[in-house]
Amino acid sequence: MALSTAVHWQVVREVGGPAAESIGGPLPARLPVDYSVLADDDLVERMCRADGEAFRALFERHADIVYSLALRIVVQRPVAEDIVQEVFLKLWRRPSLFDASRGKFVTWLLSVTRNRAIDERRVRSRWFHQELPSPFGEEVLPASDATDPARGAILADERVAVRGALATLPPDQRLAIEMAYFGGLSQSEIAAQLGLPLGTVKTRTRLAMQKLRTALAGREDPVG
């Protein structure tokens, strides 16, 4: 089996001494890095050292899922695009905000995205009296075109799993957790909007989440 160029030169130097170094050209400064195979945590660590290519890899890997979540919440494309830009530029400015000991990067990234999108939705409705379209209307047909086919396939599988789990829920339970997660509503707000007792909403939320957790138990975290 042929050795890689760098290893070959190292062996020659150790065995042949100075004369051996006269063979061939100069040693390569360093091997090129294939960022696409690096884990998210590794890419974030490189970003802490101002590695722009690491950021590019992370961005290309997760931009679509971040955008999809933001769009689901704020519904308006320009607003969702701004959120994506804001989330990733903040990540670039402060990569140390992510603490790998507290969980997976993509989970953290989506949590930051959701919080930002919910905040935007609240600001527009309360501050500027803009009524955003309901995020619970008809689904837009998905148009995913993952830049990484392998990861795209994994993501598609996970998406099917989550949607499948949600599909097993009674509609009222599913609505309760969707209003909470995508609408950013508290249980009392959900109860007020639906005209239901708070206790009913609490029960539906708890039952829905228990079923969701059971259905998803044992699966790998999405694209982690």
Partner: protein, 242 residues
């Protein structure tokens, strides 16, 4: 009253969805901080809640936005790059304006500022004027504009990493009896109280925040009843982004 595990487990799913109202949310969080078993279950609930993101229809981010993000990163080659010179100039200008404004508030403040002028280097943040002047010389100082959806109220919050922050606001509506304004830092699903204050007769106010939270993305000024200064309550008067 201490929350039982049974009660906490009834509520932790809602907490994982960030849908639990106060004061239950705080009570559950307090229980989770001291109960490993419930804490583990909460982590499972949070993971499941996080996967709901995948229920969102899949869309591809447009090429225009992709290019904008990557270009913005190229403009800032280092994650620790210093703020642009005009930011430091703006901070210095804001410091000058604040000093001038405070001087009109009374002899005591004017004397204090004059005393501080005679000192050198970094000033301890003993009052908003001193803190803002200290901010003006910090290379990583930032300013966020706070705006109102109605009326003329506005403000600015200035801070630097690891240091204090200063809120300067104007044209705040007069407070009803028994009410205060509160400064909130919101980020990552949490709200931290920066402090409470009351404006002067002209609606101006400054607030020194000795230890702002390390991470936040939204800054809010809200009006609360004095005995009900809690996150999520109150009427938001000003808001700005980090």
């Amino acid at each position: 009253m201490t929350m039982t595990c049974e009660r906490a487990r009834e509520l932790l799913d809602a907490l994982a969805l960030d849908a639990l109202d106060e004061p239950e949310a705080s009570a559950v969080a307090e229980h989770l901080s001291s109960c490993a078993a419930c804490g583990l279950e909460f982590e499972e609930a949070r993971e499941a809640a996080g996967m709901l993101a995948l229920a969102a229809p899949a869309h591809r981010l447009g090429d225009g936005t992709r290019a904008r993000v990557l270009e913005a990163v190229q403009e800032r080659p280092s994650p620790v790059r210093l703020p642009r010179p005009r930011m430091r100039m703006a901070l210095a200008a804001a410091a000058v304006l604040l000093v001038a404004g405070l001087a009109a508030w009374g002899t005591f403040l004017q004397l204090r500022v004059n005393h501080l002028d005679s000192k050198q280097a970094v000033l301890g943040p003993t009052d908003p004027a001193a803190a803002l002047m200290a901010l003006a010389i910090q290379p990583d100082a930032k300013i966020a504009d706070l705006t109102s959806s109605s009326g003329q109220a506005g403000g600015r919050y200035a801070w630097y990493s690891g240091g204090p922050g200063v809120l300067v606001s104007h044209d705040l509506p007069a407070l009803p009896p028994g009410h205060v304004y509160a400064l909130w830092f919101v980020g990552d699903g949490r709200a931290s109280l920066g402090g409470t204050f009351q404006p002067d007769a002209s609606g101006r106010a400054t607030l020194l925040v000795q230890s702002p939270p390390g991470y936040f993305d939204t800054i809010r000024v809200a009006m609360h009843a004095s005995d009900a200064v809690t996150a999520g309550s109150g009427q938001v008067v000003l808001q700005g982004q980090e």
